[in-house]
């Protein structure tokens, strides 16, 4: 069941036949890359960028920032815990008690 481009065999033949007969939107195949590893193309009729299109998710930057902020805070708390542990040999999880 090899599926390298060069492979042959019943399975691939079926798949290839399917490809030709297929209706619907095209899919990108990696032949029109902006750069290596950056090959995506929008499907016909769909926007290249969603911003301003009818598919604009209109993300709230505040929501988008929440994960990063939360991680920063966790890292700071963890660092404080480790520091206390290194200094005292005692692990205190509750940072209010450090």
């Amino acid at each position: 069941m090899k599926l390298t481009a060069k492979a042959t065999g019943a399975v691939l033949a079926t798949a290839a036949a399917l490809l030709i007969s297929t209706a619907g939107a095209f899919a990108y195949d990696g032949t029109n890359c902006k750069a290596p590893g950056n090959c995506w193309e929008p499907k016909p009729g769909y926007p290249e960028k969603v911003k301003g299109s009818k598919y604009d998710p209109k993300h709230d930057p505040e929501e988008l920032a929440k994960q990063g902020n939360s991680i920063k805070e966790m890292e700071a708390r963890n660092a404080a815990r480790t520091k206390h542990f290194q200094e005292t040999g005692e692990w205190v999880y509750d940072v209010d008690k450090l």
Partner: protein
């Protein structure tokens, strides 16, 4: 060693050599060597997949094709919890360590008298963690760090609430505890921690809630963070340096963690890692896969969405990404790429000995790469019913799509194979280095998929697709049966030596042994042993509840035991676990597995088997309160 050529089995010798050569810091080398040494003993089971190869292969052959019919339960243990029980227990120096579903109790049992609990750790967790877990309240296992002269041996447990706890292996008392994931932004932990040297590697979950994935290395001595690497965003965050993908520049190199996303979408772009790790002690590379981009609705995130869906190789000490191969650029189906990584050393078609990593991906393709540099060696369909791809372009590595089975807004995709569950999900597979066969626990599920728009709100589900799932073409679509397969795969020939359909899949994975056996549990609650050479079913046992964990084996006092968790759940079990009826509920799992409840109910525990059930209680006076009988 039985002539095995797999890395884990060779690793110890190499490491000792390295240490002697002064290449490794002494305390680091000691802990690491100790773990490798422990992993080589038949009496231990110290990490997921048994050793760093992740091949879940044991040289034990006391139980074999001739006598496996006499395999009987030796003893059992209930964790006191329901919800799916994933992973498998660890065994170190005669003590077994058991993980469990939320709230992730940890138990230590002395194998000389497992009927008495040696210690238990029962964390109080914020119950809010339950509502942000995507796929039941699972946990994939524990890690063991062997200790050194400064610090005692530790058992590390990842909690669903995002905390990582290190417990003293001796008594279960808390040694350190850090916050890794914040449930308030939808981030949880289900992955098993992974110990390499003095580092504890911890992944992340939550790509169904827009969580930007990361892997973190903590210092086992004090819980301090050594490195944290993301799947998306700036190169520095991902650990991409100048030599990234130097042998395969066509996979992409710098800047793509931003350039393949529109605007800030990478900040909520998924790429968590909640699957399995492998490690090569010679190359000092850690292997794992990043998961699906977020949201599932592809129209909302133009671009290749790097480096989600990527097989990654990181330098263990620095976390630097040495190579990365994105299997599913711009995912349209939730083919989260976190599956098991199995390391083997095999001759390729040209007869050259290669250091390989094999990875059965959700997207229906099983990849084998050169693990030194990421060269693509083979990419085979897991089943000939995969229809989303026509083939993989072996030069670029890009899988070529059949547009019929793509997904997009204002369109309902139909008969897409594989489904979002992939033709392979979290199962921990095995590899028999003698037979050069991988034993794959495969899903056989297809789907209809219809996207919808939704806003991102931190901590809320951020999926944007409605799914119906049902058996693949070889299954029984009338009765929703035939949802899985087990296959023996040769990565060099690309051939499946044998395959067999399963009613609901072996969701948890497989164990291979030198007894020419492959063991696995099924969702419907059967624990099975097959002849690993030809697939013949030699034995089975009906467990209290379906399995979503994978079997392990160990020797104790000269007896070979096989252990497996029961406790149905995980993504396929959400209908059962949360009593859901709507077939599209549970992200489509409820419909596909509607018949599972007719074979099994929830449970949560461990069964340990041996030939004729031999075990500690063969002497029934063991652990009696008294043996004195008073006669009148």
């Amino acid at each position: 060693m039985n002539g095995s050529t797999s890395i884990g089995r060779l690793a110890s010798a190499s490491c000792v050599a390295l240490a002697v050569c002064g290449l490794l810091g002494s305390s680091v080398a000691v802990a690491n060597d100790k773990l490798i040494e422990l992993s080589e003993s038949n009496e231990n089971y110290v990490m997921p997949g048994k050793d760093y190869t992740g091949d879940n292969y044991s040289k034990l052959d006391q139980i074999n094709t001739d006598n496996v019919k006499d395999l009987k339960v030796s003893w059992t243990f209930s964790t006191g919890l329901l919800n799916g029980h994933e992973g498998t227990p660890l065994v170190v120096d005669g003590v077994m360590y058991i993980n469990s579903s939320f709230p992730n109790n940890v138990y230590a049992l002395d194998l000389d008298n497992p009927g008495k609990i040696k210690w238990q750790y029962k964390p109080k967790q914020n119950p809010a963690a339950r509502s942000v877990a995507c796929c039941d309240l699972v946990n994939r296992g524990l890690a063991y760090w062997p200790g050194d002269d400064k610090t005692p041996a530790l058992i590390i447990s990842n909690q669903l609430d995002g905390n990582v706890v290190a417990l003293k292996a001796e008594d279960g008392s808390l040694y350190w505890k850090v916050e890794n994931s914040d449930i308030k932004v939808g981030s949880t932990l289900t992955v098993a921690p992974y110990v390499v040297k003095d580092l504890v590697i911890v992944g992340s979950s939550g790509a169904e809630l827009g969580v930007r994935g990361y892997a973190t290395a903590y210092n086992a001595h004090d819980g301090s963070q050594v490195w944290r690497m993301y799947a998306t965003g700036p190169d520095a965050d991902i650990g991409i340096g100048d030599d990234f993908n130097k042998d395969n520049p066509q996979y992409g190199q710098k800047g793509l963690g931003l350039a393949t996303w529109e605007g800030d979408a990478w900040k909520i772009g998924g790429g968590t890692n909640w699957g399995w790790y492998a490690y090569d002690p010679d190359l000092e590379l850690l292997y794992y896969g990043s998961g699906n981009p977020s949201p599932w609705n592809e129209t909302m995130r133009p671009g290749d969405n790097k480096w989600t869906m990527t097989m990654m190789a990181r330098d263990i000490d620095s976390g630097e990404l040495k190579w990365g191969y994105q299997k599913t650029p711009h995912d349209e189906w939730d083919y989260a790429g976190v599956n098991v990584m199995m390391l083997s050393d095999q001759k390729d078609k040209d007869g050259n000995m290669r250091k390989l990593v094999t990875h059965p991906d959700r997207n229906g393709i099983i990849y084998t790469l050169d693990r030194t540099n990421g060269d693509l060696v083979s990419a085979d369909f897991l089943d000939d019913t995969v229809n989303v791809w026509t083939h993989v372009d072996m030069k670029t590595g890009i899988p070529v799509r059949d547009p019929e089975y793509g997904t997009r807004m204002d369109h309902k995709g139909k008969d897409i194979c594989p489904s979002a569950m992939g033709y392979h999900d979290q199962a921990h597979d095995s590899y028999d280095p003698e037979k050069e066969l991988f034993y794959l626990a495969i899903n056989h599920i297809c789907m209809d998929w219809e996207p919808f728009m939704l806003p991102y709100r931190a901590g809320q589900f951020f999926v944007g697709a409605t799914l119906s799932m049902y058996p693949g073409p070889k299954g029984d679509r009338q009765n929703y049966l035939g949802l899985g397969q087990v296959k023996a795969y040769n990565a060099i020939s690309g051939k499946y030596d044998w395959s067999v359909m399963e009613r609901f899949a072996a969701w948890g994975g497989t164990l291979a042994t030198a007894g020419d056996l492959v063991f696995y549990g099924t969702l419907d609650g059967y624990f099975k042993a097959r002849n690993s050479a030809n697939g013949e079913l030699l034995w089975k046992f009906k467990m209290p509840s379906g399995a979503i964990g994978y079997p392990m084996t160990y020797e104790h006092d000269g007896t070979q035991y096989v252990g497996i968790y029961y406790g149905v759940g995980g993504w396929p079990g959400v209908g059962l676990v949360f009593d859901l009826d709507d077939p599209t509920a549970g992200l489509g799992a409820v419909g596909a597995f509607r018949n599972l409840q007719n074979w099994t109910q929830q449970g949560g525990g461990l069964l340990v088997f041996s030939l004729n059930g031999k075990g500690p209680y063969d002497d029934p006076t063991l652990d009696e309160y008294t043996t004195e009988i008073i006669r009148q």
